[in-house]
């Protein structure tokens, strides 16, 4: 996934002065690849999404039927529909900035925090949605760094959640500082197994992990059906019992803001992921296997072992997405637990160029989109599935940057042209 383009002479570099982090980030991959293209990709996807929203809105369609009588009206209505939809999404994602500021004033003066909490609730909701995204996104990204396509994030998420829920409700009498980590550990182990199987099948038999991880997803769904309708069922609906209070991840603010400590776990793991990939020998091996497995073998690395470990790490992170989200928010497992976090994570990882920082930023973006979507559905009548359409487009645009480039008439940087030149090799 890390497409490298040849770097020109680092700008300030005399003998020994290393370019700093920002220079390295941009210079190594070029400004366009890292920042500009993803931004434009998202922007374009949003524009197209907006058009879809407009043209599936019955009122807007009605004005277009009258186009020849009132062309400006049709265009205006289109614009208004899009604007309303996206502003509803914005409010749903962030809350009302004006209101928030006002409430901060109230809180400072009177100490009354109810209004402030209500005002920042949407932001809190969005941030809490970002937690499973960050974790699953990291999982998928680490897989990508090793050239492994872990499409099984969704299934691993559920398995992690199921195991965590079980330890959460079935084990009693432990203090929270043992119970909660234990529950999380259970989720990690279960998900790790779920990732180990496709990993070992790939390493030993060369069976492609895309299909195998997808198969594991379906098996996970069936397993969940069985457990939630059978042994783990509680109450009338297919769902587990609530987990014990000692397993719950506490929230950061008082109710109604639900943002929980899992957010910080996610950010911490992002830092760990960065350290793992670029500051450890194992990370270097993982990336090497992802870029050139043959050279990795020549360097003495056990490619099979690396692949299996990478798959397991990837699956564990995705499983943690389920565990942490469950312990922090729902506190029980049910079929509707995930609105597709696992699949979103794939788009995330691509958008973030498989780099932990990119994943975090993309996760925040997607979380805001998803946080705002329900409100958009209520206000503008658009189904939340528009998010998935936007994601699909983002994937396409990020994976094929040429589309964006030709659309916006961007210059291909000289270095990128040189790296694309045919190798004028022997003779």
């Amino acid at each position: 996934m890390s497409k490298a383009s040849p770097t020109p002479t680092p700008t300030k570099s005399e003998e020994g002065q290393k370019p700093n982090f920002w220079q390295r980030l941009f210079v190594r991959k070029g400004f366009s690849d890292t920042v500009l293209i993803p931004i434009l990709a998202v922007f374009t996807a949003l524009v197209i999404g907006g058009l879809i929203v407009a043209f599936t809105n019955s009122d807007t369609l009605a004005t277009w039927r009258n186009f020849f009588h009132d062309p400006l009206g049709a265009l205006a209505k289109t614009w208004i529909t899009i604007r309303d939809a996206y502003s509803a999404m914005f409010l749903g994602a962030f809350g009302d900035p004006a209101e928030t500021i006002k409430q901060i004033g109230v809180w400072i003066k009177t100490g009354e925090n109810k209004g402030l909490l209500a005002a920042i609730r949407p932001l809190g909701e969005s941030l809490l949605l970002s937690v499973p995204y960050i974790l699953a996104g990291l999982g998928v990204a680490i897989g990508f760094q090793c050239n492994l396509f872990n499409i099984g994030a969704e299934g691993q998420l559920y398995i992690g959640g199921l195991a965590t829920a079980f330890v959460g409700y079935a084990v009693q009498g432990l203090p929270w500082y043992i119970h909660m980590p234990l529950a999380i550990l259970a989720g990690a182990v279960a998900a790790g197994i779920w990732g180990f199987i496709p990993g070992i099948l790939k390493a030993r038999f060369g069976a492609h992990e895309v299909i195998n991880t997808i198969m594991m997803n379906y098996i996970a769904y069936r397993l969940m059906d069985y457990l939630l309708n059978g042994p783990m069922k509680s109450g009338g609906t297919p769902a587990t019992p609530q987990v014990q209070p000692t397993a719950i991840l506490p929230t950061f603010f008082p109710a109604p803001v639900r943002l929980h400590w899992g957010f910080f776990i996610a950010i911490a793991l992002a830092v760990v992921a960065y350290w793992l990939l670029w500051k450890t020998s194992f990370g270097m091996e993982l990336r090497m296997v992802g870029v050139n497995a043959k050279a990795a073998r020549y360097a003495g690395i056990s490619v099979k072992r690396t692949m299996v470990i990478a798959m397991v790490i990837s699956a564990v992170l995705c499983g943690l997405a389920g565990s942490v989200h469950l312990l922090g928010v729902d506190h029980r497992m049910m079929p509707s637990f995930s609105p597709g976090y696992g699949f979103d994570a794939i788009a995330l990882a691509l958008l973030g160029n498989s780099h932990p920082l990119g994943v975090v930023l993309s996760s925040l973006l997607f979380a805001f989109l998803r946080g705002g979507a329900p409100r958009m559905q209520v206000v503008a009548g658009t189904p939340v599935e528009i998010i998935r359409i936007i994601q699909g487009m983002v994937i396409v645009f990020v994976a094929a940057p040429e589309i964006i480039r030709s659309l916006y008439r961007l210059q291909v940087s000289r270095r990128e042209k040189e790296s694309a030149a045919p190798s004028v090799s022997a003779s």
Partner: protein
């Protein structure tokens, strides 16, 4: 008599590279024209233009006096130009017949293949030009020499009059090369005209009617065999005096470092590639393994470096049994490996040079503590190695793909030589390099040998093996037919061995 084909002012550039710079070339009817030049001189580019795979930026092509434009292989084929590529363009899972007719298939009715007719034609061409093939054989089962014949038949089936051969003898034994030259003469007798690209000086003198020499994308001169010698051609190719042999003192050998006993190794298709090989390499000597590619050398090297497992055989390094050890263990035991394909095996092109320079030791102190990498140490070591081996690069953070072939090989050498080594295994270490880099690598290998290292050199370039080695082993069909001191080796003798014919001397010694 006007020339059959004439090129005027052909120019072709790629981003950053001027591959052909106003080339003028003529080919007369019924002649064998050799195009001689180093790797990267622009020869294949020009031929690809002739065959319609590239289009020139400037220049004109005339055939039989009329100007033509060749925009794709169709046009070239129509004009009677046929090309036999250096890397064969065959479909392994198709039969000979299917490969020959691909693109110009005979059909019955609406698109149904008519294999019989084509098969008959193949047999006719085969008989007429002395190119023995079995028309229904699957190409992947054929030997390299026979595959080349299929390529030639392909070209003749399309009624080519001008045949272009790109490095045709690269994969042939000296005897197969002789057979090939016979075919070339037959082709000329039957009215064809031949262009022949090569970098082998001896061949050119043997077979060509005229020789055009390329250097850096330009034609530097045209001459004939009677007017040139190897040395004169070499200096035309390179632009300066070229020393064709390596200066080295006689070997001072020590203990046995590498001891291989009865090694049997299978290839990817579960066929035997190394068939009971035994030999020893001592400290301070270079054992060269000569042989045409495909006789088991690749598998032998892979087995010795731990990349390929084997069931039978024993390999010892200074008495320590390394049979079946992992590549890392073998390295740690004191082996260095300069691999055959530097870009795919020896380097991770997208990683920065500094990481490539420690690719063999990054996991050990001082570069790593536990799994923590110590970037400062890596940078220090990298900068030191760049200086010591004179690697031309703008910095150590650039990715390895920006380096030229010669500098890439230097990175590998710098890395491998930076720890004390007892055994150096070098596979085709100078493939695709310019003469300057070749000289450098050869010097380094000899230096290591003089320091007391044991060197195993595997190369299909007979000249290289003969000039560097102290002893020469010849591999054929997975066996080592003979090991002789370099001083007693002759081109002819080695050629016979490479073709599987044991010499009388060896029979006496055994």
């Amino acid at each position: 008599m006007s020339p059959l084909m004439e090129l005027r002012g052909i120019t072709k550039s790629f981003p950053g590279v001027l591959a052909n710079d106003h080339i003028d070339l003529t080919l007369n009817e019924g002649e064998i024209l050799a195009i001689l030049g180093e790797n990267g001189a622009g020869k294949t580019t020009l031929m690809n233009i002739l065959y319609g795979l590239y289009s020139p930026n400037e220049g004109e092509i005339f055939i039989r006096g009329s100007k033509v434009s060749i925009r794709n292989p169709h046009d070239a084929i129509r004009l009677g130009i046929g090309m036999v590529h250096q890397h064969f363009m065959l479909i392994p899972v198709f039969t000979v017949t299917e490969n020959v007719m691909l693109g110009v298939e005979s059909v019955k009715g609406t698109g149904i293949l008519d294999r019989k007719t084509v098969s008959k034609s193949v047999n006719e061409i085969s008989a007429r030009f002395g190119l023995k093939v079995e028309s229904e054989a699957m190409v992947e089962d054929l030997s390299v020499g026979v595959q080349q014949r299929v390529e030639i038949i392909k070209v003749l089936y399309r009624k080519a009059d001008i045949l272009i051969f790109d490095e045709p003898t690269a994969v042939l034994t000296p005897q197969e090369a002789e057979d090939f030259f016979k075919v070339v003469h037959t082709l000329v007798e039957q009215g064809k005209s031949i262009i022949f690209i090569t970098h082998k000086l001896k061949e050119v003198l043997e077979i060509a009617d005229r020789i055009t020499v390329f250097r850096n994308g330009r034609v530097v001169g045209t001459t004939t065999p009677s007017q040139s010698t190897e040395a004169s051609l070499a200096s035309m190719m390179v632009g300066r005096e070229v020393i064709l042999t390596v200066d080295k003192k006689p070997a001072e050998t020590g203990d046995v470092v590498l001891d291989v006993t009865d090694l049997h190794v299978m290839d990817d298709r579960h066929l035997k590639a190394v068939d009971g090989v035994s030999f020893q390499v001592r400290a301070g000597e270079i054992l060269g393994v000569a042989g045409v590619q495909g006789n088991g050398q690749k598998e032998l090297v892979e087995a010795l470096t731990g990349l390929r497992s084997y069931e039978t055989g024993r390999v010892e390094l200074l008495g320590e049994n390394i049979s079946g050890a992992s590549p890392r263990k073998i390295r740690e035991a004191g082996t260095a490996h300069v691999p055959e394909d530097r870009q795919s095996d020896g380097l991770v092109l997208s990683f920065p040079i500094k990481e490539n320079l420690v690719l063999n030791t990054y996991y050990e102190p001082p570069f790593a503590r536990g799994i923590n990498l110590n970037n400062a140490e890596i940078v220090k070591a990298a900068e030191q190695r760049v200086k010591e081996y004179d690697i031309r690069t703008p910095g150590i953070d650039v990715s390895a793909s920006t380096l030229s072939g010669g500098n890439q090989q230097k990175v590998i050498v710098a890395r491998e030589f930076s720890r004390p080594i007892k055994l150096l295994i070098a596979s085709q270490p100078t493939r695709g390099l310019d003469v300057g880099s070749i000289e450098y690598i050869h010097k380094q290998i000899v230096k290591k040998r003089d320091e007391g290292c044991a060197v195993l050199l595997v190369s299909p370039e007979l000249d290289e093996v003969m000039s560097l080695s102290d002893r020469i082993a010849v591999m054929f069909a997975g066996k080592i037919l003979d090991i002789i001191p370099a001083s007693e080796a002759t081109k002819e003798g080695l050629g016979l061995l490479m073709a599987g014919i044991r010499s009388k001397i060896q029979a006496e010694v055994a």
